[in-house]
Symmetry: C3
Subunit: 346 residues, 3 copies
């Protein structure tokens, strides 16, 4: 290994903190401006292979390969200069080998080369967060297993905040009231000759069918939070008029173009880098496949906002729609219905 | 409704102006730098469901759902801080319910939640233009009708200019001699088993066939101004050497990558926001699906320029090619044919 | 022709230099900061139609249409203000007409309108490099032949450096130790009813089959340097820890999203324009179809880095993977394997 004989690094002088990971669309508790110097942030990622319903209407299912049991996996939050110490656990109940590649890290295929774990194994990897921004992590076990695992949900995000927090283009601080973490997943679910989704008895059972479907590059489903409707109804996101929300959107494999129907991106780190000034005033933004980006919006009106990828075929027919439910007072200056729908007057 | 009981807003002190909308690729007469304070800009959008030929060569047709009878619908132009007062009219001859979602506006699904009109109805919506830039508007009647209406041509653009006009990255004013408004439309026209485009007797008759075709995400046609060849030949755009043209490109549903063959984007607002400095010197730019962007170019040579999406399969085989015909004096300093095609000399 | 009767331009006072073109992923020797004033840079592009293996595993072949015998064609390097004088040679052994459209040039369809050469012909075109950046060039013989030639490999890149070299966002000079030139090619290889790739006896023999395959917009192969595996194994790229590499990525027809697994873009000219400040700290970037962009990275760790388009289906199943092999000392501060894979401890 390239790491053999490299000088040891002693980080025992740094404070350590354990970050409790939470399922998306939520994110771990964190400071926006770091109140301390660099720390070692310990996280535990437990792999889980599980059968998930992708679309209740059709009964389409997938043997999802997950970090932490969710699609996407939990977000890790730290500050630039921190060290992330990940314990990756592949339980004995798994049937597959997994690993993890952190786009935020440097070297060894993002850690993928140092973290292969068979069922019943764990590994500990530490990496330094040198670039501020939002970044994808994903499984990359090698060869055709790479797209297979990613397209079965095995991806998540890291947010590396600047130590002194986010800034606008003039250096003024930007802060948010909450973060929502929207992981978009493309699935390529095999169908039988009658157009019905096939079912499989165990994780990996769909391997050759899946590869054939993936090769066509057209997903059967594009969803947020793992399933059609996961972020609508009971799963809808909440906000209030006047609240500022940071929307982190991750897509580990395929381009996306988020849009908040009725809102905007006031500030936008489209490629996810926090080392550049944000763009402003966007209607629709672009997530490069294999990237996580961030948009900040202060809600100005109450009501339901649909958050979609604005290929509206994908949003509506393939599943990529979530909802924000926003409470507060309507502002007729911004928008007013001057005449209700009714007979044509002229 | 969220708007019930909201305080009324009195704009009776503001000047009012009626904007006469014109069919694309043209845009309404307008000031680049506003000579007054904010105004109320009244526009009338009349819906028209009509059978249109998409490709004369094959006879492919679509029951287009349109604003104003054109694909895309007419551009609305205003300045930041203006109020746009839209009368949306669905004539009794229509068979479908429609509405309109303005990406430039704030709240109520971009107005979509306040503008549902059945055949024989009209509605009046007013919204404030708070973000400068070029923005999509489109029909979004709900559920699967959303992509259906958008993919049948029901979309257009709003241009919100900064009150003091466009600026370069150093704050110097930028002005244009003309605006061309290029609306790109993806169609998914159903074919029969022999590969011939199907015909339908009325608007909406293709509903289930269309949804099936759209789900595959591969359009049969990608066109400018509604049909193959609409912006070539008699429909070609005109310019002169030395003229500066602002090219507004809108794509309501699908990514595009405009390129002017033989020219460039001298200045580029790729995501359409005029609140950020333009990028400069681009060969090819990117319109996020569900967005409108703007590129400014000063023509330097005479001749025919093809304006394409630079997936050249889409440009040539699916239809996304327009022409600029530019008059003026050739400049041999920029380009010269030093030796005509002829026998190989060495 | 528009160029008839235009005043002649005398460049006889300028120094002339002949640039020896080299096959990708290499680039011609060049200065990063120009030590002289503008020059005339002479290059010779010899067309070659040749049968190439696209994938050794399946035996898939293409009658490639090439500049210089490689896919992509050789990179041309100059500085802003230079004149590029191209001799385009179509040998008598060719069966097709070709030409060349330089996105970096101005007018006459990028020179495409002045460079049509039949087998046995040559032409000389001179154009001025007015915009700094990385740019695509490609064949565009007209109509359906345009996407046909481009999708058969007939494209390359020009790099126009600022006379005083590259700069960061604060105007500080940026220099590189080497340039790698990664041309991504999408192929749409026809298959027979059994799913086997068809073979053809001569260039152009696949014309109607190819057009049918291209129309579906889903490539069978997406490769770097013309073939699956061309930039892996013996073809892998080389670097050392501490070296700064400029990665120029060109895609003449289709969007791409490059990612360096285990690394980043420290500096990024995503749309390829060197007249704007580079973005910084990107995980994954976006090449607009029909454009060339540039990313600069200083390697910090030894090992193998995969360079991919991060639609990982395309990277792994369709071929778009290259390797950097980087030598040097591992840095445990950036990344350390604290515990090797082994039994789960808790
Ligand atoms: Cu895995
Ligand atoms: Cu990755
Ligand atoms: Cu409608
Ligand atoms: Cu929309
Ligand atoms: Cu050619
Ligand atoms: Cu081109
Ligand atoms: Mg359903
Ligand atoms: Mg729900
Ligand atoms: Mg990112
Ligand atoms: Mg035709
Ligand atoms: Mg025409
Ligand atoms: Mg826009
Ligand atoms: Mg193979
Ligand atoms: Mg190889
Ligand atoms: Mg470029």
């Amino acid at each position: 290994s390239v790491t053999v004989d490299a000088p040891e690094v002693d980080l025992s002088h740094l404070p350590r903190v354990t970050q409790e990971l939470v399922a998306p669309p939520f994110v771990p508790a964190h400071e926006q401006v770091a109140s301390t110097g660099p720390r070692v942030v310990e996280v535990r990622l437990e792999i889980e292979e599980k059968l998930m319903v992708v679309d209740e209407d059709t009964g389409a299912e997938v043997w999802a390969l997950t970090y932490g049991g969710s699609v996407p996996g939990p977000m890790i939050v730290c500050h630039e200069g921190d060290y992330v110490e990940v314990t990756l656990v592949n339980p004995p109940t798994s049937v597959m080998e997994h690993n993890v590649d952190f786009h935020a890290s440097t070297g060894a295929l993002g850690g993928g080369g140092l973290t292969h774990v068979y069922p019943g194994e764990e590994v500990v990897l530490r990496w330094k967060a040198t670039k501020p921004g939002t970044f994808v992590y994903h499984c990359a076990p090698g060869g055709e297993m790479i797209p297979y695992h990613i397209c079965h949900g095995m991806n998540g995000a890291v947010m590396v905040l600047p130590r002194d927090g986010l800034k606008d283009g003039e250096g003024n601080p930007l802060s948010y009231d909450k973060v929502v973490y929207i992981g978009e997943q493309d699935y390529y679910l095999p169908m039988d000759d009658d157009g019905n989704y096939k079912t499989y008895e165990f994780a990996g059972g769909d391997y050759s069918d899946s590869l054939a479907a993936m090769r066509g590059l057209v997903p059967t489903h594009v969803v947020f939070n793992g399933a059609v409707g996961a972020l609508t109804g009971e799963g809808a996101l909440k906000a209030k008029v006047g609240e500022t929300v940071l929307m982190v959107h991750t897509q580990a494999n395929r381009d996306s173009r988020p849009h908040l129907i009725g809102g905007h991106a006031d500030f936008l780190w489209e490629g996810g880098s926090f080392s550049d000034a944000p763009m402003t005033g966007f209607e629709t933004w672009f997530i490069r496949g294999g990237a996580a980006g961030a948009a900040m919006y202060t809600f100005k009106q109450p009501g339901v906002y649909a958050y979609v990828t604005h290929n509206l075929i994908e949003a509506v027919l393939l599943g990529a729609t979530g909802h924000f439910v926003v409470e507060g007072q309507w502002d007729n200056d911004l928008m007013a219905q001057l005449k209700e729908p009714g007979p044509i007057s002229t």
